[in-house]
Symmetry: C3
């Protein structure tokens, strides 16, 4: 019963970390191909692919590969969800200026589960997986963890 | 070791798609009974039920079966989260008028995981699962995928 | 093949409920140690830990253990996301005054999945798991459910 991705009894799993260091402080990056590629390596045919930011000032979300919409999202985060303005936040007293990035991460979420069916990401026709960097220009990580049956 | 829902080694899973074509452009629909019914078919006793919208202008969420609150949610999405006003958004330049529906999907989320315990959806006393249609009047889908042990 | 956490064929799982009765109506509580402790009891080495509020006026989220930021979150929920003001909401007609707590739960989300790797919660350096009580002063619950391989 042991397979290449199993330690003991249970189900196969596969884990991979993606690293980012964005040039801009806020940026939206399509990571669907990287998730699909890890799924292929895993050999898993039916299950769940968790894609989760390992930082509290970033998001992972599913939406549309359309640059106008990415612009709309960044504008909305600044003008509706949480303006950057560090002076508005108590978190600023710690020397950090990124409270807004935390609130943006809470709103958009930091993780998604993509279903895996017949060895493929079971996404709708326009769905793509994105990393949303809300406080970048430094090294940050996303974990991909796939669980299921081979 | 092979069972009715397994392809190979690992754990049982069960997949089902729900279709919607709402009469109104925005609508909130209770889908708890459909999820429960798929759980029964799966035979899974302990695990996770993923319920995920396959569109980027819709949500799946857990909340209250109360029509006043549904009205409050639709009002809040329009007046606080993201007004429909297509002219405000760059996404409008593509010919689409539904950028607001995308931002609403990002805020409320597009999926939930419901725990499965002793063969039942392990929901709190007032929790129900909803499909939130933010740009309807056309055929759209939700995937239900249940993973666990029988 | 049977193990201590399995009913039948499939994968091991472990379920635990945390109870809360907060003194204040809104409160943010770090529950990472409780989740880690349940993970140890489960014996699961690779998998997913679901942490999910069983109420529609509460959240579970991953963010920063910093009291200034907790203050910022509560202020933001009241002043940006959804003011308490019951008279603004139709849900108020049912005799409930907590519509705002529902909208806050929808925004922040009611659950997270934490990946489990090599027997540990696979969190980034600053990530902690929180219970967000948006309508407390009464007994409420969170379910922890861990699924994976031993």
């Amino acid at each position: 019963m042991p397979g290449p991705y199993t330690i003991g009894y249970g189900m196969p799993s596969h884990t991979h970390y993606l690293w980012f260091e964005t040039k801009r402080r806020q940026e939206i990056i399509d990571i669907t191909d990287e998730v699909e590629s890890e799924l292929e390596k895993s050999g898993i045919r039916e299950g769940f692919a968790l894609v989760s930011a390992m930082h509290i000032s970033a998001s992972v979300f599913v939406n549309d590969h359309e640059s106008g919409l990415w612009h709309d999202i960044l504008h909305w985060l600044e003008h509706t969800v949480a303006p950057w303005s560090p002076e508005k936040y108590k978190h600023n007293d710690t020397g950090e200026d990124n409270a807004a990035a935390h609130l943006r991460s809470l709103t958009v979420g930091h993780e998604v589960i993509v279903p895996v069916t017949a060895g493929k990401l079971d996404l709708g026709p326009w769905q793509r997986v994105f990393y949303g960097e809300w406080d970048g220009q430094r090294r940050k990580r996303v974990v991909i963890k796939i669980l299921g049956e081979m």
